[in-house]
Symmetry: C2
Subunit: 340 residues, 2 copies
C-alpha cells in the first residue's frame, strides 16, 4: 500500500464525526481507570465512588459556543444563562441524581456590555437557586470573536441506584418524561424567521426545563434500568442506550407524545411532526427503560412517563400503520452537523 | 445627577477588569453557600466538605482560548495539551492537594487535522498519567474560528490542612518553590520572534511543570499558612494573599530566585530581570507563607522553597539597595491585558 493510498484512507474529523472522535480519544483513558471510576467517558455523567459512603459523585460538563450553539441576537442573555445551566442539570437528572456544585467559565469577546453579563448571570443564578446548586468557581477571560460558556456540574446519586445508559433489558418498556419535538420545531421556526408566530415552541428551545424531579424519583424507584436525556435527538439518544446495553428497540409511532402546538407547526411547515420528535434534539426530557408499571407508578407520584416503545433483542425500528420500518439512529453531530 | 452623568460613571468591563467582574458576579453566589462549601469563588480551587471523611474535594477549571492564551503556530499541539492540564494541576498543588479526575472539553474550528488532536491528546494524557489523573468526561463540539479548551480538575486534600489564600499571618516568611520570571521572558522572546535563541526560556513558558510534590508536602507539613500558584504575575498573586489575609508584604529584591538564563535574556533585551519575576506570570511555581523553618525543612525533604520576603501588618513593598519602594500589585488581567 503506497503512502498516498494510506492517506486517502486515513480517518479525518468529518468521517469520524463527534462520536468517532470521542471513541478515538477516550480509548487511552478508559484503559487506565482506577476502581473509583465507576463510569467514565460515555454516559451523561461520570460516576465516581466515594469511600465510606452510599453515595457516588456525578460530574458533567458542556461547552456552549457562539454561532454553533446559539446566536447572540437569537436568545436573550437571561435565556442563555438559564440554558447553559439547564443542559448540565439535565445530565444530572439523567443519572437519577441531585445537583450540587457548578463551575462557570466565560470567554468574553469585545463588544459585550456589562449589562449583558449581568442578565446572563441572573438567568443562570435563578435556575441554580431553584435547584439548590452552588456556583463555586470558574474562569473569566477574553476571546477574539465568539462568546464561549463552559459549565461543569457536580451531583450525587445513590451508589446502588445510579442509572447508566448500559442497563436496558430486553422486554423493558421505553418511556419519555414529556412531549418531544417542540424544541426542534422551535429552532426551525427561529431559523426560518417565524419566531414571532410560534412563541411557545421557541421558548421550549431557548428555555429548556431540566426534568430533575422525575429523574430523582426514577433513581429512587428501583424500577428503571437505563436512562439518558434527549439532547441530540431522540432516535440518536435511544441508539446510545441500545449500543451500550447491547439491545435493540421498537418505537410505536402512535405513542409518541406530540403536542398540539407541534402538530400545528408541522402542518404549517409541510413537515411530519414525528421527524421533529425523533431527530430534533434539545428537548431535555428524560428517556428511560424499565418495568411497564413505571408509567402508572410515576403518575401516582405526580410525575409523567409516557410509554413509547419496547426494548428488543436487536434491530432499531418504528412501528407505524405499515408495520415496522427501520429507524435511522440520526441526530445532531457537532462535527458533522444536522442529519441529512 | 443627570442620566448622562450616571452613565458616564456606570462601570464597564474595562474599568472593572477581570477581578472586578468576578467580585460583581460572585456576590450573589457567596451569599447563599451551604455549609458544605468550605471555600467557593476566590481561591485556586473550591473546597467542598465530604460527609464522614477527613478529606475535602477540590474543584478548579480553566479556559484556554486561541489568540488569547496561545497562538496555534506558537505552540505544538502536544505542548498545548500538556499546558491545558498543567495549569489546572497547578491549582490543585496550590491547595496542598492531590489531583483525581479531569473533564476535558474541546471546541474545534474548521481546518484542525485529526493528527493535531491526536498530538494534543497525547500531551494531555502523558501528563495525566504521570500524575495519576483520570480523564472521565468532557464535551466535543465545533467552533467557527478559534480552538477552545476547557478543563475541569478535581482533587482531594486533608480537611484540616488545606491551604487557602486567606491564612497568611504577620511575621510569616514568604517562599516560592522555584525560579520566577523565566516563563514571562520566554513569552517575551516568542512574541519578539527570538524563540530560536532562547529555547530553555520558551520551553518554561510552553511546558510548565506543576509543583505537585512540594505542594502536597506543604499541605502535610502543617507549617504553611497560605498558598497560591504564580499564574498571573508574582506581585499580583501575592497581592491576592495579602488582600484575602488582611496583611501586607515586603519582598527582598536580592532574594528573588532569578536564573542565569533569565538574567542573560534581560541583559540582552535591555530589561530588568526582576520585572519578569514580579510581573511576568505563568511560572506555575507555588508562592506560600509560613514559619521560617519551612525552608530548611523542605530542603531536608528534597524540596526547594526560597525565602523571598516577609508578611507585614500592612503595605506592599520591595526592599532594594535604596530601601523600601512601593510595589505595584500588577500582573495580567484578561479583560484589561498586560500591566502598563
Amino acid at each position: 500500500v503506497s503512502a498516498d493510498l494510506k492517506n486517502a484512507h486515513a480517518p479525518n474529523l468529518a468521517t469520524l464525526g463527534e462520536f468517532g472522535l470521542i471513541d478515538r480519544l477516550s480509548a487511552r483513558c478508559r484503559a487506565a481507570y482506577p476502581p473509583r471510576v465507576r463510569c467514565g467517558i460515555g454516559d451523561d455523567c461520570a460516576v465516581i465512588a466515594l469511600p465510606h459512603s452510599d453515595e457516588v459523585l456525578l460530574y458533567t460538563t458542556d461547552l456552549l459556543v457562539e454561532r454553533v450553539h446559539f446566536l447572540r441576537d437569537g436568545i436573550t442573555p437571561r435565556q442563555l444563562g438559564h440554558k447553559a445551566l439547564a443542559v448540565n442539570l439535565s445530565d444530572i437528572a439523567a443519572m437519577g441524581g441531585t445537583p450540587r456544585e457548578a463551575l462557570v467559565s466565560l470567554a468574553i469577546p469585545p463588544g459585550i456590555a456589562l449589562a449583558f453579563l449581568d442578565e446572563l448571570w441572573a438567568g443562570l443564578m435563578d435556575l441554580a437557586d431553584h435547584h439548590h446548586t452552588s456556583v463555586v468557581g470558574g474562569d473569566t477571560t477574553s476571546s477574539k470573536v465568539d462568546l464561549v460558556l463552559s459549565l461543569t456540574l457536580t451531583g450525587v446519586a445513590l451508589a446502588n441506584r445510579v442509572l447508566l445508559r448500559s442497563g436496558a433489558l430486553v422486554g423493558d418498556t421505553i418511556f419519555v418524561s414529556g412531549p418531544i419535538g417542540e424544541s426542534g420545531a422551535g429552532l426551525d421556526a427561529l431559523l426560518g424567521g417565524k419566531a414571532a408566530d410560534w412563541p411557545a415552541l421557541v421558548r421550549r428551545h431557548l428555555e429548556p426545563q431540566p426534568h430533575l424531579g422525575v429523574g430523582q424519583w426514577l433513581g429512587q424507584s428501583g424500577l428503571a434500568h437505563a436512562m439518558i436525556d434527549v439532547s441530540d435527538g431522540m432516535a440518536q439518544d435511544l441508539g446510545h442506550i441500545c449500543e451500550q446495553s447491547g439491545v435493540g428497540a421498537r418505537l410505536f409511532a402512535d405513542a409518541l407524545p406530540l403536542s398540539p402546538e407541534l402538530v400545528r407547526y408541522a402542518r404549517a411547515a409541510g413537515r411530519d411532526p414525528a421527524d421533529f420528535a425523533l431527530f430534533g434534539g434539545e428537548d431535555y426530557v428524560l428517556l428511560c427503560t424499565g418495568a411497564a408499571e413505571l408509567g402508572p407508578r410515576a403518575a401516582a407520584a405526580g410525575h409523567t412517563l409516557v410509554a413509547i416503545g419496547e426494548v428488543t433483542a436487536s434491530g432499531f425500528c418504528l412501528r407505524g400503520p405499515d408495520g415496522d420500518v427501520p429507524l435511522r439512529q440520526a441526530g445532531f453531530d457537532h462535527l458533522r452537523g444536522a442529519p441529512a
